[in-house]
Symmetry: C2
Subunit: 450 residues, 2 copies
Amino acid sequence: MSINRRKFIQSSALVGAGIAISPSSKASPSKHEKANISKSKINIGIIGSGFRGQSHIDLLLDRNDCEVIAIADIDDRMIASSLAIFKKYGKNEPTVYKDGPHDYKNLLADENIDAVIIATPWKWHSEQAVAAMKAGKYVGTEVCGAFSVDECWQLVNTQEATGTHLFFLENVCYRRDVMAVMNMVSQGMFGELVHLEGGYQHDLREVKFNDGMKAYGGGVEFGEKGFHESKWRTQHSIMRNGDLYPTHGLGPVAQMLNINRGNRLMYLTSMSSQAVGLHNYIVNHPNGGEKHENAKVKFKLGDVVTTMIKCANGESITLFHDTNLPRPYSIGFRVQGTKGIWMDVNKSLLIDGLTEAHQWTSADSWLKKYDHPYWKANEQKAIGAGHGGMDWFLIDEFVNHAKVNKRPPIDVYDAAAWMSITPLSEESIAAGSKAVAIPDFTRGRWMDEN
Amino acid sequence: MSINRRKFIQSSALVGAGIAISPSSKASPSKHEKANISKSKINIGIIGSGFRGQSHIDLLLDRNDCEVIAIADIDDRMIASSLAIFKKYGKNEPTVYKDGPHDYKNLLADENIDAVIIATPWKWHSEQAVAAMKAGKYVGTEVCGAFSVDECWQLVNTQEATGTHLFFLENVCYRRDVMAVMNMVSQGMFGELVHLEGGYQHDLREVKFNDGMKAYGGGVEFGEKGFHESKWRTQHSIMRNGDLYPTHGLGPVAQMLNINRGNRLMYLTSMSSQAVGLHNYIVNHPNGGEKHENAKVKFKLGDVVTTMIKCANGESITLFHDTNLPRPYSIGFRVQGTKGIWMDVNKSLLIDGLTEAHQWTSADSWLKKYDHPYWKANEQKAIGAGHGGMDWFLIDEFVNHAKVNKRPPIDVYDAAAWMSITPLSEESIAAGSKAVAIPDFTRGRWMDEN
């Protein structure tokens, strides 16, 4: 068992303190760490209170160890539904910053705010995270892929210069089966890891298009005529071809592989299929058709984008991005090592010598047996929280780390490495699937963290 | 529905004549086609009568429309067990060519032989296929990957120069579920195809190592001290890193995509994981251990090799090669288009508008409903044949095509394109997953075959 795995198990023992999956609990690689200020209760500001921000608000207001004292958004409808959550919990209304897209800066100027969560459209994440770190807030930022590698460096450089922390809010790292498998990986059940897979395979056609009133489906509108994510997300399918949303699949896999902690992502190559799914959806929809103005739109995003990543310790990763076709939701995890394999899609595994050779065995009883103690201890609290309960753990971890100003388990180096897959996959596809180096955002410190 | 799909359906109607999956039944692209000589009964020679050759002999001797009149092999034990099959069927003993590895040439010199099947170790396939085509035999060759692109061109050039046919004996193209899905593809059930996957994921550790007496397992011997495939196959894992066995996964997928018939394979990129599985097996085996001489052997073959292929019509293909780790057998098919998706590993599918949206539905009833007529008509005969019955169909197709000297449904261009994946994936991996062009072995004729 590697040193990494042993440390992972030790840190898993910290669960009682709510610090569950920090793969490395020793000194942060940041040289400029802020003095530790520990608080029993913190004030939080929300930048972006759309549906995702509202889900976070709901979880935060249900806690005793934080208050949400400010929100920033530009959409009156979303602000109104956010305020309704405060009313539901009988909490004081927050200060609302709604004076245009840059009013969030005034939220950041409020010295009573200890931490912020950013849940805006993708293009705002890094700009707002950089501003928030500079303002000294403990930052949680929703997931996305980057637009450029430079953007990833900006996050790293700002974190190192300011010493404030960035928690990359990848919720799938807290999925119950994923944490159970992480537990099994830590205990060496799969042996030395060899090949892992994951991805974002989600039929988003009713997210990318709607009728401008409902959030999901009912029409083929987007952009100014759309509502919710179709207002901005669909445009990415028109303008870009790459793995636009890599972190749900990559995050858990990277944690299992100790990426940035004794291992790192070295290079990738990406391939995309043709782009036909979204156009087909528009022309075949009862509210669309060949004559609808959106039937003329050309989409660049290949319906299926596949990315292969090589790691410093030899392992390979395959990532999927598949959002334009009719299909069941699937992150498509595969965790494979010298002693066994787990696959998500058939909910099965094989462990050498422990399950029948050459056969799939249902993973159910194994996932129960290795259920992560953090999950087991908080199961009741998590019921009803978003995405099968995992969002409760995400927010719990965020608040617990922010209260003690601790390096997050998913830090700025993870954010940079994971987000960089998007522009690098665009580069690879544009050049006929050429291999592209992935920068070492830790500047060599991944070698000392083993 | 494309012209290809319509033609596929038409050719499926030829099933009664045993010509089942010819994706294109019109004129062969070969300019030098041999005069059609049709026979009601043919004489067949077997080159390589190991376990695979014996499986073919068994199926051939069970038929009335062919005789096996000669076999060539160098291994007395394999010759003896081959002759026992003739005895079992009460058939005349064949002429045996066993005077060294080149005695097969004397078999080819026998003018009474109409067709040959080659089932030797990989390195002999192309040399023997070329010699057999030059000798005017209708050639069936077992599957493998090529050693070089030049070898693939040799096959094509020889076929075109001699006008004799080469049937590439890819049995997975005749798997019942695969043919049912091919049937669904032909009828447009998946819409326009977008992304397909397949591969060879088979724990071969007990094939690559045995005790020198049994064919499978019981020790960590190979090469001169091994038996059966471990005598020669294991050496490939020591010397080569690439997708060594691409055609079980690629063959069916290429047929669904009309490769070489209106579409073609354009370029690929491959990635391999580290190579640790086989060494681990040796040192952990009760008859192996750290001190066994084979513990010193260094293996080059990455435990998991992944290859992405881009097609001329835009589709992407992902291939897996995974033979050194404990895992269940899985070809891992995925067939995905604008109207639906089928996956092999969870035996499930989704068809837009016909099954529940966003959910997997068991594929069972769909595969029964679209069961290929060729399978349905011959189910009883196929019972007991190798690999779940598919080998019966493979041999039936081979004999039926050989009798009428017809262009095979899996021809020399398919053989060349599919086999070329091996050397090209080796080249890609050796150069850090660079993209590598796949030659057009049809010399442009794929464009006329649509």
